[in-house]
């Protein structure tokens, strides 16, 4: 039975080619049709594969047993010991990822039709979006590291193109460059990891590396730690973890649906996917796992604290994305891969929802992104309000919304992970409280209280979005935007009810069994107890946000004034950008200016041309004097040349070359 896996990446690629090459001349409706058909068809192929491969469907004639692989064109790269196949593989993990990518991707495509309808470069936008889907599905379908790397780089490219979509705006172009460069640092780690893998296992295939590991139970730590740490560097770059998170907040320069699809739901989770995919290596290296857990917990807390004081609605969501990705890393770090993937899935639902709802608010306010100029939008944007409420409740981990189940699973698995796990659990819990606070702060500032839009001069932030609307009438978004919001809201409400146990059992063949509360000390009761604690902390965050922001009051301002040092530290994002600028960017710039400007351009390029020109001019000057026009001087030079030739012939050639060949032409003075 064939699953036609190749169609999943191929269809968006065809969409990209059509829209990218011809889109400028095609009517808008046709561009939208092509752009929407690609992910929809991909989603249907994935759905069909999911139904055929469903765990219950083992007896039917059409049943597929996972993992299922498709190879195209035999061997892809065959060079000496290096052997890489062009192979796609489908297992439970890939299936979950594909459902998210094509499903959420399709919803965001629909949303984009409404959101981008007035934009220049409509066709270009959809071409890039389809290109992204192509690379993202290659990334998750790949059966070896190299093919995965192709997708990995490709999504980086698509991300760069879409962040810099408004490329005539300098900040957007710079943000795209920053994302690309920071990701390149991570990719460097990924590449080193691949080289080490090749050196150790002689293969890049997930399957053969897995079986080599299984056949070698004694192989622990050492080289595996090195490989795992290199891969973690790659994952940190793509998934915006400390210390490589700095590109993600700036990536908000892109159109909002792009932030939802690429910088929240799918691409940034590639790092988490990669760790889950290669968990066999991480399982053998407790040190690397601890590093992942610490990075995750630190990022979750760090980004959440920055999120507390941001005033740009998209930036709050960006920091919350970084923080939630930290949770996924934390889950991976305590070897709870299925919990991490579970959180990845629910996060894809509610964070896509939050971004799209924020986009709807921005759309309704004609490009306003600053929450200080919002307020009182509950009545004016009712559907956006209610769907966003679902998203806020979900991300805050309020029962029974999706985020509660997945975050609870992450934190519970962390708690059960030895003594260090308790500390990580506590950090995660604090971050959960902060998350709840800043999300409800966003909620109150945007939708409650009086409208502040009139009082402020409308400082327009969002791209060119504003110029095409009249700036006074607040309006609810069209249904092409609201329908995806409603579907994602339903998923955010119900998505967690699959339950960690079922989800974990489904993924168990790929990433190993989950921690079973019934077998742990304390049993399920203790699990419930931790859940209650988590919800209580989330409710506390909500309560404080309510006190500060529900009605107009100066409590927040007073607190900020009382702790002005902390406030400015947070508002300036710990000066990390400035620090990086000082430590890395400026020295690098100075060195490159020196090497390129002075040595490269000055010495090598300019110097060599000057040298060549100088030699020619000098020789010309000498030769010019030589050619005097005096016949007798020519004759003298001729005679001198002949004399030199004779000397040369008499000594050099005669003695060496001719002598070596047994020819003697010496003049015999005493001869006959």
């Amino acid at each position: 039975m064939n699953l036609y896996l190749y169609l999943i990446p191929l269809l968006p690629f065809v969409g990209f080619l059509i829209n990218g090459l011809l889109g400028r001349r095609l009517p808008k409706a046709l561009v939208s049709t092509v752009a929407l058909a690609a992910p929809l068809a991909g989603f249907l192929v994935v759905l069909r594969a999911a139904m055929l491969a469903w765990p219950g469907n083992t007896s039917g004639p059409l049943a597929i047993t996972l993992p299922y692989t498709e190879n195209f064109g035999g061997s892809w790269i065959n060079a000496g010991p290096l052997h890489v196949d062009f192979t796609f593989a489908l297992d439970q993990l890939t299936l979950v990822m594909l459902l998210i990518i094509t499903g959420v991707g399709f919803l965001i495509h629909i949303y984009s039709v409404g959101y981008m309808s007035h934009e220049e470069g409509y066709w270009r936008y959809f071409a890039y979006l389809n290109l992204f889907l192509f690379f993202m599905s290659v990334l998750v379908l790949a059966e070896n590291f190299l093919l995965m790397f192709v997708g990995w780089e490709g999504v980086g490219l698509a991300s760069y193109l879409l962040i810099g979509f408004y490329f005539d705006k300098k900040s957007a172009a710079d943000a795209g460059k920053k994302a690309f460069v920071v990701n390149r640092i991570g990719d460097f780690g990924f590449l080193l990891g691949m080289f080490l893998l090749l050196a150790q296992f002689g293969s890049l295939s997930f399957g053969s590396i897995g079986s080599s590991l299984a056949a070698n139970p004694a192989l622990q730590g050492g080289i595996l730690t090195a490989i795992a740490l290199c891969l973690v560097v790659g994952a940190c770059g793509k998934s915006a973890q400390i210390p490589l998170y700095v590109w993600l907040p700036d990536a908000m320069e892109g159109p909002t649906p792009v932030s939802a699809l690429i910088h929240a739901a799918t691409m940034v989770t590639a790092g988490v996917y990669m760790i889950a995919r290669t968990h066999a290596i991480f399982d053998r290296s407790p040190f690397a796992l601890a590093v992942v857990a610490i990075i995750g917990a630190a990022t979750a807390l760090f980004a959440a604290t920055i999120g507390l004081v941001q005033t740009d609605i998209k930036r709050v969501l960006a920091y919350s994305t970084i923080s939630q990705l930290g949770y996924m890393f934390l889950g991976c770090g305590v070897a709870a891969y299925s919990a991490a993937i579970f959180h990845l899935m629910t996060h894809a639902f509610f964070k896509a929802l939050l971004f799209l709802a924020a986009g709807s608010v921005i759309h309704g306010l004609s490009g306003e992104q600053d929450m200080r100029n919002m307020g009182g939008l509950r009545k004016k944007l009712p559907i956006t309000f209610w769907t966003m409420t679902a998203g806020v409740l979900a991300i805050s981990g309020i029962f029974p919304f999706a985020g509660f189940f997945s975050k609870d699973a992450d934190l519970y698995d962390a708690f059960e992970h030895g003594a260090s796990g308790k500390a990580i659990w506590f950090v995660g819990l604090v971050a959960a409280g902060l998350t709840s606070f800043y999300m409800f702060r966003l909620w109150y500032l945007t939708f409650f209280g009086e409208s502040r839009a009139e009082t402020q001069t409308s400082a327009v932030n969002d791209n060119s979005h504003s110029t095409l609307h009249t700036s006074h009438s607040v309006h609810e978004s069209p249904w092409s935007m609201l329908a995806p919001l409603v579907i994602l809201a339903l998923l955010s409400i119900g998505g967690g009810w699959i339950g960690m146990k079922h989800f974990g059992d489904f993924l168990a063949p790929v990433v190993g069994a989950v921690v079973d509360p019934e077998k742990e000390p304390g049993g399920e009761t203790f699990d419930y107890f931790l859940s209650v604690v988590a919800v209580a902390v989330a409710a506390l965050g909500w309560f404080i946000a309510h006190l500060f922001y529900f009605r107009k009051n100066d409590r927040a301002a007073k607190l900020a004034a009382a702790m002005s040092g902390v406030h400015s530290l947070l508002a300036n994002k710990y000066w990390i950008d400035e620090l990086y600028n000082f430590i890395f960017v400026r020295p690098l710039k100075a060195i490159s200016t020196f090497i390129l400007g002075w040595i490269g351009e000055g010495v090598i390029i300019r110097g060599s041309t000057w040298l060549l020109g100088g030699i020619v001019m000098l020789t010309g000057e000498l030769l010019r004097r030589w050619q005097s026009g005096n016949l007798r001087s020519y004759a003298a030079w001729l005679a001198a040349g002949a004399a030199v030739l004779i000397l040369f012939a008499g000594y050099a050639i005669t003695d060496t070359w001719l002598g070596a060949h047994g020819i003697d032409i010496h003049i015999n003075w005493a001869g006959r």
Partner: protein
């Protein structure tokens, strides 16, 4: 009396040197021209001498052509020298008519 080959060669070298020196130091174009003839004939003399030497070594018995080559070359040189003399003298006459002088230091039209 048997005259050794080297004497002919030394004479040839002396004649050639005289030709070169004359070519270099004389200013009259006709004298320069005569110096060239002198060099050509010095070369002719060595050709003849070498041809004679080849015959005397006995190697000529193996290859008849080698022995005659020197003498044949002399005929070539004489023929070219005759042609050159005709053309060269015509040019000299033309130059004298045009410039009114045969001093080579004043004939430097080809200078850049």
């Amino acid at each position: 009396m048997h005259v050794p080959s080297s004497w002919y060669l030394i004479l040839s070298a002396l004649l050639f040197t005289l030709g070169v020196v004359g070519f270099l130091i004389k200013r009259n174009l006709i004298t320069v021209f005569m110096s060239i003839e002198l060099m050509l004939n010095a070369v002719n003399l060595s050709f003849v001498t070498f041809g004679h030497m080849w015959r005397a070594t006995g190697q000529a018995a193996i290859d008849h052509h080698i022995a005659e080559r020197g003498q044949i070359f002399v005929f070539f040189v004489m023929m070219v020298a005759a042609a050159e003399a005709a053309v060269g003298l015509a040019i000299i006459i033309a130059i004298f008519r045009a410039r009114g002088t045969l001093n080579v230091d004043q004939i430097d039209l080809m200078k850049l």
